[in-house]
Amino acid sequence: MAADIRPKRPFRWHIGIFLAPAVLVYSAIMILPLAGTLQLSLFRNIEQHQVFVGLQNFRTLFGDPNWSVGFWNALRNNTWFFIIHMIVQNPIGVMLAALLSSPRLRFAAFYRTAIFVPTILSFVIVGFAWKLILSPLWGVAPHLMDLVGLKSLFTPWLGKEQYALTALSLISVWQFVGIPMMLIYAALLSIPEEVIEAAECDGITGLSQFWKIKLPLILPSIGIISILTFVGNFNAFDLIYTAQGALAGPNYSTDILGTFLYRAFFGFQLQTGDPNMGAAIATMMFLIILGGVCVYLFLVQTRLRRYQF
């Protein structure tokens, strides 16, 4: 009723004009293709025509050993890739941030800048540089290990099936540790002085202060980092492609969903590309990422206490 009494406002065209370019580009290039890809996974190309086949592509993906072995292998590898990130990257990031945020630390700006350098480099550079360093031909890695007396432990990690994936995960950790470090650093800086002072009055200092006071306060940031890592890892492609090629060798031991999608979509030496199967794999990746995001939004985020200062 109130609306009738109020003088009718003229249609505000400017809102539409402000929104239009972003919404158009975003919808046309991102949302519609995403929906299109999901839709394409339900079709097959039969005699030059796209025919609706329901879930047939997914049945092939999970039922046909030609596909399912590769898919499960990629998913397993991808999970391991993610686990390494969670147990290596995030603790190192938290530790570095905790050290950086200690009061009156000299050269903090230098450390911050230097540790973030790998993060700005492209995968191509990172992948190749590490490939050279770990190469037995050049001998940098064995030489360095010799200095600490561990030369006997050296093997060409990237070339061995049992080590290659872990080695690549650690390279990726090396590259991205700057991101958790920065976000946690920001979170630590935003803890108000009074809280820290109150803790110190109660005699809680040093490490126990970190565990009892600071860590609970930065848990929301750790949650955000975990979900960012999850999305990034299940969407990764470039590093594996640069270091090991589209075949994700040796013997598919470094194959993750991104490289698996690439081969399915474009084909490689032995197999022709198949957009419909590619779309089916992309749909699975979409569901995995969506699942992760939902778990984060509905389970993790709601349980984390947020402290307002």
């Binding site: 402000f18 975003y26 995403l34 890809t37 350098v117």
Partner: protein, 279 residues
């Protein structure tokens, strides 16, 4: 402050750990750049020493500049990055202004719709994006890349910029309205200059993934004419597997522009990331 935070062994320990990690972070970069200035014998004989007059050699760089069309790839990367950045910032700021300034029906729904892309990577739509580009004849053009990167950068830009635009004083905008300024003038003349620092932050965040991306150049624009420097370096490195001088020089050429830009903008970038905390 307590004595614990000031104790000497603790400070030394902190510096030791940070220095060690800094060394780990910088070592590969320094190693590659250092060795790119050496002769083949120098690279293999003493990889860990800086170039000496005896081992100094620019053969790698002359090979790279003679063989690959790197200048051209650089231009392509530059065009794609700058154009996408321009559109992300302009369109993103406009949408962020609309969302933060006006209340209208469905405004929060619209905000949610635009935020969707922060979590769901655009790469998953590749199959249909390629079909779209083939249908519109944009394959192997820089336009295709610019469109994709604009769409990719928009969600985060809108999200960050609308947070900042909410902080711009309402009095200022209303004063402008009373003076008879149109909504467009208020946006371009009053609000945009005030959020310039946050625009710089968004710019850095948007720029790095675009410059470094390999996936879309590989799929949408792999032709010689439209190769970006990341894709060019990737293919070039593949060709010269055995020519270590050329590989190291190519890697250094790819590292250096990013590194220089980073050193110039690192303050801005770090301030952007920690902006919530250090006001």
């Amino acid at each position: 402050m307590s004595t614990a935070t000031r104790s000497v062994p603790r400070t030394i320990g902190a510096h030791a750990i940070l220095l060690t990690y800094t060394a780990i972070a910088l070592f590969p970069v320094i190693l590659v750049i250092m060795n790119s200035f050496k002769s083949r014998a120098g690279i293999f004989g003493a990889p860990l020493t800086p170039p000496t007059p005896k081992t100094f050699d620019l053969i790698g760089y002359t090979t790279v500049i003679g063989q690959g069309d790197f200048i051209h790839y650089f231009q392509n990367s530059l065009v794609v990055t700058v154009a996408s950045l321009f559109f992300v910032l302009l369109f993103g700021a406009m949408a962020a202004f609309a969302l933060s300034e006006y209340r209208f029906r469905g405004s929060s729904l619209m905000g949610l719709y635009l935020a969707l892309g922060i979590m769901i990577p655009i790469r998953l739509g590749t199959v249909a994006i390629l079909q779209l580009m083939v249908a519109s004849g944009l394959v192997n053009t820089l336009t295709a890349l610019i469109l994709v990167y604009t769409a990719q950068g928009l969600p985060l830009a809108v999200f960050i910029l609308s947070e900042f635009m909410k902080q711009v004083s309402d009095d200022l905008k209303n004063a402008g309205r009373i003076d008879g300024l149109s909504e467009y003038t208020i946006f371009f003349r009053l609000v945009l200059p005030l959020v310039r620092p946050s625009m710089a932050t968004v710019a850095v965040f948007t720029m790095i993934p675009i410059w470094n991306d390999l996936w879309f150049p590989l799929i949408l624009a792999p032709s010689e004419e439209t190769k970006t420097v990341t894709l060019g370096a990737q293919l070039f490195l593949g060709q010269f597997v055995t020519n270590w001088n050329a590989i190291l020089a190519a890697l250094s050429l790819a590292i250096m522009p990013v590194l220089i830009l980073y050193v110039i903008f690192s303050r801005q970038l770090i301030r952007g990331i920690t902006s919530g905390a250090v006001k």
